[in-house]
């Protein structure tokens, strides 16, 4: 019994250390964002809401927030529709290049965007989509497509084809049954695909850094970076307020997506 309690105590210590490691860096923004004289250091705040007021009224903060929403929601709309349609075909139709195509999706998902950024810059430049909302939104959507397609395909696999067959017997066409029966059932899959797409687009840093140059089209990630590397007027109160506004949707959606996380990491699933 004694040894047991020692082990339990040690377990608490180790878990406590991991928790402190995880949470300690985060404390600072909650103090600094409400501090009238915020600094890079942890200190007791001189309480104020002025940093948030500055974010929402006096600076480009709201502009960046709206831009981030445009890029992310735009990507979600594109990706969910495209992945729902494509995923249905990948689930139901049999064709000879299906296997290579599915393996191809895995390989495409693994390509790091840093390796593609030079050609992406060149191509967007040549089609005049550099520094445009449409150009960046399409690129962000493209990078989320492999995972979303996979999620939708595996989701449709779980919807029994018998449900559709019953409708066909009753005289419904394939597409009627698709829109009346299958798509309404596919909401959890669409939600998962949408959540991951939003998270990916919302957090993106490299692509807007290279593909967007106009001040008024920057998303929050680049706004934060510009504020951080500014030579003058380094304003930690503003930066931490921005960081909190920027993090809230990401953290909420991440926690919602938590149940799907393992499946999304292990794209393709693993045989034991």
């Amino acid at each position: 019994v004694r040894r047991d309690s020692t082990t339990t105590f040690l377990n608490y210590v180790v878990l406590g250390l991991i928790v402190i490691y995880s949470v300690l860096p985060i404390l600072w923004i909650f103090l600094a964002a409400f501090d009238a004289r915020a600094d890079l250091f942890v200190k007791w705040p001189d309480f104020t809401f002025a940093n948030f007021r500055r974010f929402f009224t006096e600076t480009d903060g709201v502009r960046w927030l709206i831009n981030s929403l445009i890029y992310s929601i735009g990507s979600v709309l594109i990706v969910t529709v495209v992945a729902a349609l494509g995923g249905y075909t990948l689930s139901r139709l049999r064709f000879w290049w299906k296997r290579p195509f599915l393996y191809g999706i895995i390989l495409i998902r693994i390509i790091p965007s840093t390796a593609l950024i030079v050609p992406l810059f060149k191509i967007l430049q040549s089609v005049h989509l550099l520094d445009t909302y449409l150009g960046l939104t399409l690129v962000l959507a493209a990078f989320q497509t492999p995972l979303a397609l996979w999620i939708m395909k595996t989701f449709f696999d779980t919807i029994p084809v018998e449900l559709e067959e019953a409708a066909w017997v009753d005289g419904a066409s394939r597409f009627r049954s698709l829109f009346a029966i299958v798509f309404p059932l596919s909401f959890p899959g669409v939600a998962a695909a949408g959540l991951f797409t939003f998270l990916g687009a919302w957090g993106e840093f490299l692509k807007p850094l290279v593909l967007i140059s106009s001040q008024d089209k920057l998303p929050l990630s680049i706004g934060l970076f510009k504020a951080f590397v500014a030579y003058t007027n380094v304003d930690y109160g503003f930066m931490t307020a921005l960081a909190i506004v920027y993090s809230v949707p990401a953290v909420v959606f991440f926690m919602l997506a938590r149940t799907f996380l393992v499946k999304s990491f292990a794209i393709g699933g693993v045989k034991g």
Partner: protein, 294 residues
């Protein structure tokens, strides 16, 4: 009549796939295009910008003589091995095992807190560590060192690689923990009962029962984390831009700096081609070793 309806349906279903293929082309076309750009002297300013010339394998020859390229490979390797393959694996596995222990209270709270570093956007994560590793005696990490009687250091200047490894372990614990937790939860319970009946100690149970059963998950983790760590850019670029003196110039930052700081698009694309090659090898390994189900 019946057959033709079938054909039309099949055709329309293929059309459903067209938008997805079009979007995927936004990735495939640049990947192929990188190969072509890497064979030119393309640049953002200067002679190459106006009229890029075909230069054959010149960029690759330069690459394999470039000390900075080898430096980047070395930094990337150390970064991946120590932060992901060792750091995240051990801390994440320990966290997952502890969270399995039903006697520990506040497990769920602890599990949620450990997710936070991965949940915040990467630029916010970087900003947090700017404060954590701030120079001088008031930086949080330095306060801990002072408390331990070690004295403050200039983290990102004196120990840049160690700093970014600590940061990336912090961010990656959640991923490892989630993966191992779900794997542990799916292990058969009777085998643990059998071990208990045979009088195995908890250490023996871990070594001879749990660990062998976790091997496929560990393999999956190692492959996935290599791929994702290899692709890291913003988390490190935000803090160091690859410096000081290229000490944190992981491959993604090297490509960015060569292409957009020194404007050498052709050369940057050559590095990207090497990176693409490594990624594809990892991807094929992933499919082969883990026998992906389709």
């Amino acid at each position: 009549m019946k057959l033709s309806t079938y054909r039309v349906e099949r055709l329309v279903m293929f059309l459903f796939l067209v938008p997805a293929i079009a979007l995927l082309m936004i990735i495939v076309v640049p990947a192929v295009n990188a190969l072509f750009i890497s064979l030119t002297n393309d640049a953002i300013i200067g002679r190459g910008a106006l009229n890029p010339q075909f230069v054959g394998l010149e960029n690759f020859q330069r690459l394999f003589r470039d000390r900075n390229f080898y430096n980047s490979l070395r930094v990337t390797l150390l970064f991946v091995v120590f932060s992901a393959l060792i750091g995240q694996l051990i801390v994440g596995l320990v966290a997952a095992l502890l969270l399995q222990n039903p006697r520990l209270r506040f497990r769920n709270l602890a599990g949620a807190v450990i997710l936070l570093p991965l949940a915040v956007p990467e630029t916010v994560a970087a900003l947090l560590w700017a404060s954590m590793l701030a120079p001088g005696e008031y930086g949080t990490a330095n306060r801990i060192l002072e408390f331990l009687g070690i004295g403050s250091v200039l983290w990102l200047n004196q120990y840049p690689l160690l700093s970014i490894i600590i940061i990336n372990i912090w961010r990656g614990i959640a991923f490892a923990m989630i993966l191992f937790s779900s794997s542990l939860a799916s292990l058969p319970t009777d085998i643990f009962d059998a071990a208990a009946v045979d009088g195995a100690s908890s250490r023996q149970t871990f070594q001879f029962v749990t660990l062998p059963l976790l091997v496929p998950t560990i393999l999956l983790f190692l492959l996935l984390t290599t791929v994702t760590t290899f692709a890291i850019f913003g988390l490190i670029y935000f803090l160091t831009a690859g410096g000081p003196a290229r000490a944190t110039e992981i491959i993604g930052i090297y490509i960015y700096n060569e292409s957009f700081q020194f404007y050498q698009l052709g050369y940057g694309a050559a590095v990207a081609v090497i990176m693409l090659g490594v990624s594809l090898v990892l991807g094929v390994l992933y499919i082969r070793v883990l026998k992906v189900e389709i």
